[in-house]
């Protein structure tokens, strides 16, 4: 492996890794969803898997 190959590998892997860590950090540290927005399916059973036609 030559120096340029090493440089490109480190830049490529480093850039992608940094972007992924930054994005995941931002997502995982967002403020919690407002109470009036919590209407997810765990709270409301959509009943779409019972009473099949």
């Amino acid at each position: 492996m030559n120096a340029q190959g090493l440089f490109i590998m480190l830049i490529s892997v480093g850039t992608v890794l940094a972007l992924t860590v930054y994005c995941m950090y931002r997502v995982l540290n967002l403020p919690p969803v407002e109470m009036d927005d919590i209407t997810g399916p765990l709270g409301i059973d959509t009943q779409d898997t019972v009473d099949a036609d």
Partner: protein, 602 residues
């Protein structure tokens, strides 16, 4: 224009349970075999490290903007009561014709699922065969070729029904069923919960494999170049002259396009389950970056490094299946601890595949539910029946992988690019970039720069059209290519019999070793000379001012298709499915119009 902001009453009103859940689900959809097998092969073939320059430019210009557009359009449609493409397209472009374009976004994931689940079952089957040790076949490359060909029934149509690997059909049935169990459980309880476990597990397993590869050192001291450092160099050393070749730029754009799953009709469906204040900008970027992590940081370091250490230069230029199912099993057989690594590796591929395949079912399930008011049971049963027919078609017509190749080319390549083009036009010209920017920034935790909107309107459609044109130009028509010229040799000096030494040497200098039994022969009808291989392969020989030219005929997809009854039948099959979906979309559209859910612009 339909302008409801309430949830679709017949669509089940499903929503994602968490921010990270939808991100992992979209990333899971994007991460597939291509991340681990296609990307390294493309990079090594098109300039090594230099390939990363057009690759990252394509990611910024094409990939991420298109992802943002799909996320935005999906949530826009979802908030107006639609989860499937025919409905979403109709609210984006309030025209009677729009819903029929949506049929394309149902056809693409459905047909891809039909063959993708077969490949997924190969991965699971290979993992199980490593557990039993059946795949530890020594270092003879031919053994892995023969094993793979027999395993997929490549020799003859219907070979899998009675061959020694008929058990692989049981594995296919289990894989097929597993997909439907997950999809039947719904968006949150099925897809999201599964991806929340599968994605971290896949990363962990891949990191274990990476650790093993990077600690291999130099397994054969008699070949000091074939080391970890040599393998990384094989993948990453730049060859800048390749940047002058348009093929390199086309390959990089194509790789970005396929790896991010844009144009599959999946992101638009997944995003339709978001709530009004859910972020789409940061989420879209995060899902794309997770996909890139699997591709660049794992696929880019594992696959070709391992292959080069044990196989040397012969690892170059291999296709996805050759690399994944023939070369790497050979590598694992020679690697210390290779049996365990083989199990882990094919489990990684299986998880990558199943997180993608479940995402291909959801758009059609959503359409059946909201288009006809069906419950999950009924829609899953109908979809199961249609996809099982297609899957059976691919499995039965296994000779030369003709059906799988035809499905993959016409739907998995041509129609995907077409669909992405449709979606970019819907965003840039039907929804409009001002409205698009406004919609994208609802609840956003990050701003999209304005120039990205301009690119989406003007640059991306042209870029996609160019990719589409070049892709068809390179693949559809047949072409003759001069692969070597032998100076000083002319056809008048040829005689029927063994190939003359200058000809053999010239081909060898081009990296084209010809079999020792290859002979020169003259056609009685046309009088042209040819080099005939032991399996009947032909290279035409013709005079030129520079010497004797060796010309290879490369059959394009058009020629291959018209000469193959299976390929023609496969296209007919796709046509029947497309017609059926168009009919369903027409009926569903009439139903929505009667219910007042669609209002067209006069």
């Amino acid at each position: 224009m339909a302008d409801q902001s309430s949830r679709n009453p017949s669509g089940g009103g499903e929503q994602w349970a968490s921010r990270i859940g939808v991100i992992l689900a979209v990333a899971g959809s994007a991460v597939g075999l291509g991340n681990f097998l296609r990307f390294p092969g493309q990079a090594a073939q098109h300039g090594g490290g230099a390939f990363m320059i057009p690759y990252f430019i394509s990611l910024l210009v094409l990939g991420i903007p298109l992802c943002w557009a799909e996320w935005t359009m999906g949530r826009y449609g979802g908030l107006r009561g639609f989860n499937s493409a025919p409905g979403i397209y109709s609210v984006l472009w309030p025209h009677r014709f729009a819903k029929y374009l949506g049929a394309l976004a149902l056809l693409v994931p459905l047909v891809i699922y039909m063959y993708y689940v077969v490949i997924e079952a190969w991965c699971l089957g290979y993992a199980l065969n490593y557990v039993t040790g059946d795949l530890m076949l020594g270092s003879d490359a031919a053994a892995y070729q023969a094993y793979f060909d027999e395993y997929i029934g490549k020799g003859a149509n219907g070979a899998l029904l009675s061959g020694p690997h008929a058990g692989s059909l049981t594995i296919l049935a289990i894989t097929f069923l597993a997909n439907f169990v997950l999809i039947y459980r719904g968006v949150s309880k099925g897809i999201e919960r599964f991806c929340n476990i599968a994605m971290p597990l896949m990363a962990l397993l891949a990191l274990i494999v990476l650790a093993r590869v990077l600690t291999l050192g130099t397994p054969d001291p008699s070949k000091p170049a074939q080391s970890v450092v040599g393998g990384l160099g094989f993948m990453w050393n730049p060859h800048y002259e390749e940047l002058k070749d348009p093929q390199t730029w086309l390959a990089a754009s194509g790789q970005i396009f396929f790896t991010l799953s844009v144009g599959f009709g999946i992101i638009i469906n997944y995003a339709s389950y978001l709530k009004r204040k859910d972020d789409v900008v940061l989420s879209g970027l995060t899902a794309s970056s997770v996909n890139e992590f699997f591709e660049v940081c794992l696929g880019g370091l594992i696959t070709l490094t391992a292959a080069y250490i044990f196989l040397g230069e012969s690892a170059r230029g291999q296709g996805t299946f050759d690399l994944g199912f023939k070369a790497l099993p050979n590598v694992f057989a020679q690697m210390p601890g290779g049996q365990v690594i083989g199990v882990l590796w094919f489990l990684v591929l299986f998880i990558a595949a199943i997180t993608s395949s479940i995402s291909m079912l959801q758009p059609v399930i959503a359409f059946l539910e909201e288009g006809f008011g069906l419950k999950r049971h009924a829609s899953a049963a109908i979809l199961g029946l249609i996809s099982a027919m297609g899957c059976g078609f691919v499995v039965y017509f296994s000779e030369g992988m003709a059906a799988l190749d035809t499905f993959d080319f016409w739907v998995g390549s041509v129609l995907i690019i077409s669909l992405a083009l449709v979606q970019s036009l819907l965003y840039g010209w039907a929804l409009g970039i001002e409205r698009g920017a406004e919609e994208a920034h609802l609840g956003a935790h990050m701003r999209i720069p304005h120039f990205v909107q301009l690119m989406l309107k003007y640059v991306v459609p042209v870029y996609l059209a160019a990719i589409f044109g070049m892709f068809c130009w390179n693949n559809v028509p047949s072409a003759d290519a001069t692969i070597a010229t032998v100076p000083g040799l002319h056809s008048s000096e040829l005689a029927e019999g063994p190939a003359p030494e200058p000809l053999v040497a010239s081909l060898a200098s081009q990296g084209r070793e010809i079999p020792g039994v290859a002979a020169v022969a003259r056609s009685d009808e046309s009088g042209t000379w040819a080099l005939v291989g032991p399996e009947g392969g032909l290279l035409r020989l013709a005079d030129s001012p520079a010497g004797l030219e060796v010309i290879e005929h490369k059959a394009g997809y058009f020629e291959n298709t018209v000469n193959s009854p299976v390929a023609l039948n496969s296209i007919a099959f796709i046509g029947v499915i497309a017609a059926f979906l168009l009919l369903l979309v027409h009926i569903a559209g009439n139903r929505w119009e009667k219910e007042g859910r669609l209002q067209y612009r006069k």
